[in-house]
Symmetry: C2
Subunit: 427 residues, 2 copies
């Protein structure tokens, strides 16, 4: 039998319900895995085995109530937890102990989930990397900013974890680490208690090792049962193949995407080529300006009182952001709002867009978590995005493709992603 740490969230939940697995055993197994692998991967910024085990034992005692009953969850350290310190990846907050849980953490506890520990984030979920390495090759970045969540899930240290995305912080690390990442429609999960980077862009998302698991976790947070993922089984999805920033992608990922598209077509999907355009790609510039302008506000206190603890990139970017006029920033947000409306026309004859998750496999080096260019426009548009791992890059690191649906069609998008995942697994 598989070790407990290898189980998917849905499998583990089923076993716990049946009484063939306890939360204590599951979490003990994850902790052993973490212990064995912590030097190699470095996914955690805080983990207290005793505390996690006590929570698991307590969960077993009360009967593992709730949809997430007894399941271990990794929480990105940009998210407040009242039982664990929360540093936002910054030495400014080295001793910070929030006195309440973020809304999304509260949801987990409400549904019986066990907070396993805090996962490494880049500083303020922005540029400056933490200690995490790619579990497939420790010389390569795991991506960021949700570095520890993606790497930990990929490395079977926990079945479920939280991330957040402002540019590409869920989809990119998911792609680099070879796991499923899901960024729901913007506004889906309450961001209270999540350290703000951009009020306009920040989105809470989730990681798991299958589309079914991310769907299960994300919908539990909405107080809903897992959506019907079989809706495309009879009539496969109509897929629009769209590749903005094609010139910035490596040949390997482009070929990989081409192969995924061919497989989908073979399995009955219709594939329509959707051309990108200069005006569509220019939304990336708007995303940059909004992120800078918003970050200038969100990190004003840190810049004012602790500049000596910020790397130059942050000081430069915050100073720049603060000089962007309120009017100019509002104008950019209006443009983005208009784009969110306008480009919904892309979905007139298709169910989902299929595109790249990143421009290449995880780059070598731990000083930079990689370029979010292939995520920024979709984040700006606020649409649901899923990374599905498939293929290998030239260094044998994971590749992924991105499935994107129209706003507030998260169930349908996940169902299409689930269909594609199955199609690819049969290869």
């Amino acid at each position: 039998m598989a070790e407990a740490y290898e189980l998917s969230a849905l499998e583990a939940r089923q076993k716990i319900k049946e009484g063939t697995l306890t939360s204590e055993r599951l979490i003990q197994s994850c902790l052993e895995r973490i212990n064995r692998r912590s030097g190699e991967v470095g996914a955690w910024t805080f983990i207290d085995p005793e505390l996690a085990l006590l929570s698991a034992i307590n969960s077993d005692k009360i009967g593992n109530l709730g949809s997430l009953g007894g399941l271990p969850i990794g929480v990105k350290d940009i998210i407040d937890t009242k039982t664990m310190p929360t540093t936002y990846g910054s030495s400014i907050y080295g001793l910070n102990q929030p006195d309440k849980d973020a809304a999304c953490v509260h949801k987990v506890r409400e549904h019986g989930g066990v907070i396993l520990g805090k996962t490494v984030t880049t500083e303020f979920a922005w540029r400056n990397p933490g200690k995490t390495k790619n579990p497939h090759n420790p010389l390569h970045t795991p991506g960021g900013s949700s570095s520890g969540s993606a790497a930990g899930v990929a490395d079977f240290q926990m079945p479920l974890a939280f991330g957040t995305q402002t540019a590409g912080s869920v989809i990119r690390p998911a792609s680099y680490c070879g796991v499923v990442g899901f960024k729901p429609t913007i506004g889906t999960h309450d961001r209270s208690g999540v350290k703000e980077l951009s009020n306009y862009l920040d989105t809470v998302g989730v990681f798991a090792r299958s589309v079914a698991d991310v769907s299960f976790f994300d919908f539990a947070l909405r107080n809903e049962a897992i959506p019907d993922l079989s809706i495309f089984d009879e009539q496969p999805p109509r897929i629009g193949l769209m590749v903005p920033f094609r010139n910035d992608a490596s040949e390997v990922v482009l070929n990989n995407l081409e192969q995924v598209s061919k497989i989908a077509e073979t399995k009955g999907a219709t594939i329509t080529d959707i051309p990108s355009s200069t005006s569509f790609e220019r939304l990336a510039d708007i995303q940059t300006v909004i992120m800078l302008g918003d970050a200038g506000k969100a990190l004003e206190w840190e810049y004012e009182f602790h500049p000596e603890r910020l790397i130059q990139f942050y000081k430069d970017s915050i100073a720049t952001g603060q000089t962007i006029s309120t009017k100019g920033l509002a104008a950019m947000k209006s443009k983005a709002d208009a784009a969110r409306e306008k480009y919904m026309e892309l979905f007139e004859r298709i169910d989902i867009i299929l595109t790249l998750s990143s421009g290449d496999e995880a780059p070598k080096g731990l000083g930079f978590t990689g370029d979010p260019l292939f995520n920024r426009v979709w984040t700006l548009l606020g649409w649901p995005c899923v990374n599905i791992p498939f293929g290998k890059g030239s260094n044998e690191l994971p590749l992924g493709v991105q499935v994107i649906g129209p706003t507030e069609s998260d169930s349908k998008t996940l169902a299409a992603a689930n269909w594609l995942e199955s199609a690819l697994l049969q290869e």
Copy 2:
């Protein structure tokens, strides 16, 4: 005897005056060197041997009139030349042939200098690198944006060349390539015909292989004779050792600077430690904002009409710059103006500041020309800066130290640099 291409500008000028060297022979020698080395270094974006030779022959015919009579000069391709195409390092300007010379090129011709060719610049003297490699190791960057001028002078392809500096585009490549670079007090040389990046910051500077040569060239452009470089021979300079951003520098460059300081002290200079401060270092943030805001204006046309030819960094940066309010940008410039006044107090008891030219030797890779952090504040302050090569990094690439003087004290600063250069040569 040394090959003609190995001569310094002052030596060559002396020989031409004496009649023991012709401009034709000098330029023929440089062209042969360029021809032998062009694959390895790639310093030139345009060079027409026949045109250069014809100019040299013509110079010899009329008697090598003027202070630069018969000397070959490399012109950074951000600077207009009426006899050669000028691309600003951008495909947008691939076919651009200016119909007049930039003011500084006009000065060269007025003083009898021969325009040898156009040297590689990063695109718009900003981020996107050209083809130039470091002549000491082709796997390493030569620095930028004045990549070809620094590399070409270092490689003995010409004795003198133009650069421009907005952040660190003269001093950094000089340091990486092991040549003397001089950025005079802001406003010294007329910038007409130099493609604008930042109206507030852009400064025309020069490269050579000795302090005497840069002094000679720079003062010729002012219609002045080489200043007296011996003023510190009797009474060595009072040096203030100041190292902003110390934590961002490698141990090797810090030790190297320490060694330079010790040598200077042994030779009779007084060394005073000047502490850096958070408010001083914060001027780097102001430099970033001004550069972005100005670039948003300077490159408005290119962004509007040729976005498809700009890399994403440019589009993002220009879009951000354009959103900075006129008022906010003006406020930043007022702050910088005030700092230009205020920090003159640093020179109350010293003649020059001695600091780092860069945080380390030239980094590996040709995709990024290195970080100008150690230059940005000094550029913002508008003070004269000189790179003096000394020492080697851990990959055996050149290191340098930076000598900085108070505004409009260029002669004195160069004299102090000359004194230090001699002191270091005796080691």
